[in-house]
């Protein structure tokens, strides 16, 4: 446990530096200087630089996986739109709190190790899958218009990534509003037009959705 505490301490320091300088420009010297430990101490807790980095990456990916929940359908369950909103809020609030990790994930995690690259790619694929499934479901339920759900899923995923990236860069904190904005944009982008007519903002969609 003590060991874990130490690891965490080093991880926290490393996180900051990686976020600022990226993987390659960060060297062991930077990390140990910042963490105020000796060179050798680092290697007591981590195999090497790459392992440390991977651990940070797994941290973000793990947290994100936890926060993205499948849509559940049932009488007891909240409206789909509500569930989407919750997902989005959970993800955004985590990413904006852990903006260093976000930055690492979005900007510094790619291109130096084929294995890591594919791990990240896979993660995004998984998320895109989930979005796509939701869209397909929406179509079945008559809430979503016909479209190339794969392409649209990527559009949505990309939109989220970009907004989050921007928000984390500028340390924006109005998560609620951002989530709403993204959701609104996304839902309108995919909703069946007749459900949107004459309505204003998201409530409209939600209302349309709840009209079943």
């Amino acid at each position: 446990m003590e060991r874990q505490a130490r690891r965490q301490q080093v991880l926290q320091h490393a996180k900051r530096i990686f976020a600022r300088k990226g993987y390659h420009r960060t060297n062991i010297s930077d990390i140990v200087a910042r963490a105020r430990i000796a060179r050798g101490t680092f290697y007591l807790y981590f195999e090497n630089k790459k392992e440390l980095f991977e651990e940070l990456l797994e941290q973000v990916l793990g947290e994100l996986r936890l926060r993205i929940r499948r849509l559940r359908i049932g009488p007891e369950e909240p409206e789909p739109v509500e569930q989407l909103r919750d997902n989005l809020r959970r993800v955004l609030s985590f990413l904006i709190t852990e903006w260093e990790l976000t930055d690492i994930l979005l900007n510094h995690s790619t291109g130096f190790d084929p294995e890591l690259d594919s791990r990240i790619r896979e993660f995004y694929e998984r998320v895109a899958d989930q979005i796509q499934r939701s869209l397909d479901l929406g179509i079945q339920m008559g809430l979503v218009r016909e479209c190339d759900t794969r392409a649209v899923a990527y559009c949505i995923l990309g939109g989220i990534k970009e907004v989050v990236g921007q928000a984390s860069r500028h340390r924006r904190r109005e998560i609620g509003r951002l989530a709403e904005e993204i959701l609104d944009f996304g839902l309108r982008g995919v909703a069946r037009p007749d459900l949107l007519a004459g309505l204003h903002r998201t409530e409209a969609v939600a209302a349309g959705a709840s009209a079943k």
Copy 2:
């Protein structure tokens, strides 16, 4: 002129390698081996590795700048939506043809040099600006619903990036359809709901738009 030809030749080879291995894992040896020139020769044409990379980057950014045109409003000009569609098609067709450059831009260009990072960021900011301006204009013209145009601009930008990234990775070639899908999604996401009612797909929006 001969000089330029030589530079281009080396750039082409480097492009491939950077796309496959990224900046750091690509070394001068790789490049000169592939370009069949001597190590020293490389430095006759390029200041250093970074300069070569920057040049490739400028190449994409330049091409993209050329292909993204401001919306022009006037009696002679095509419909705004048409102009957007043209922009999107020009960009996509370039990115998918030059998928190596796309890959470099989207996956390998960040995190190893602060200056490059900010150059890229700036480019994206500029694009986001343009999208935002279009949205603001749309609002003025009564075509676009009220929204946080900055956030939505990032959503749109991100969506395009992600779809393009996916497409370039899998060498997709159905640019026209992809452009349509993105456009459709984006327009619906921002259009005034009343303009969408009862309509199907993009033609609806276009119609609404032309109805002024």
Copy 3:
């Protein structure tokens, strides 16, 4: 005394590891893990790694010194050949029992510390001296033919080292026979030819020798 017991315990464990991996590839971690003590504890009992090694080395050298006795000449003393045989048996039986130490001495003790190197060299010189003295004595006594006794002493020493090395490597246990074989070979190599004529095997030499 307790202290000595602890030292011995550690030494025994270290002995095994040194024999298997040699000085450089054996690290303190190996030793303390095997001896089930803490890293720091090691340094309570030994100055450092080198000292531990030296102690093992002194152990072999000391034992060998004890087991190699000078030839004594006198009416009460056994025949010279008998004394040689006893020396050889004592040495071989020790080396083969303590095959790890043997391995350390013969294969891993050289080349990493000038001081140790010269200590070992000196030991061998001393042994070579003793052999040479025996040969000189043999010449005086008319038992040994004229020869470069130094060179021959080295031959004998080298022969013993090699046979022992082989035997220890393969855990051979037929010490008596090996001793006999070496003795036989060595004695024949140095005996005055006229004493060997018409005789068979070592008994012959022994007989010739006892014939004075």
Copy 4:
């Protein structure tokens, strides 16, 4: 070829240092300083330190293999003893000229790499095999007494190693005499006693041998 020359130059310098300090205490800095090349240059010619060392080792082993020839029997061939003498002389003269390599082989080549260790062991096994075969042949021809030819082969091999080691250490140059002394000792050690009677020194043996 130029490349080979350079390698050789570095090898020569490294040879000296390895002979003086052994493998582990020799570091790349020592070698490049001595060879007056840059750190990186070293790695243009050698994979790493170990590879360089192996090359030196292969050099000695290769040369020795060349110099140790099988006994050939036939009417045109020199006497077996003469062939042995030639082998011994060729080996000794090489080892004493290349005393650094000899030193490396005999004193510094063991215990830091399992693979190298076994390569050297194999070499010696091969030599021991050859000696043993000669002895077996000698027994068939009635020149050599019955004995444990394996053990005796090791005695002879060890004797040679020790004498050579001593000679190389003190830069002895009287190869001819040393060879004679070793040969004399060895032959007497193995010859059938009846062939030795009444004879003096090696000529006796040679004569006995040629008497068939």
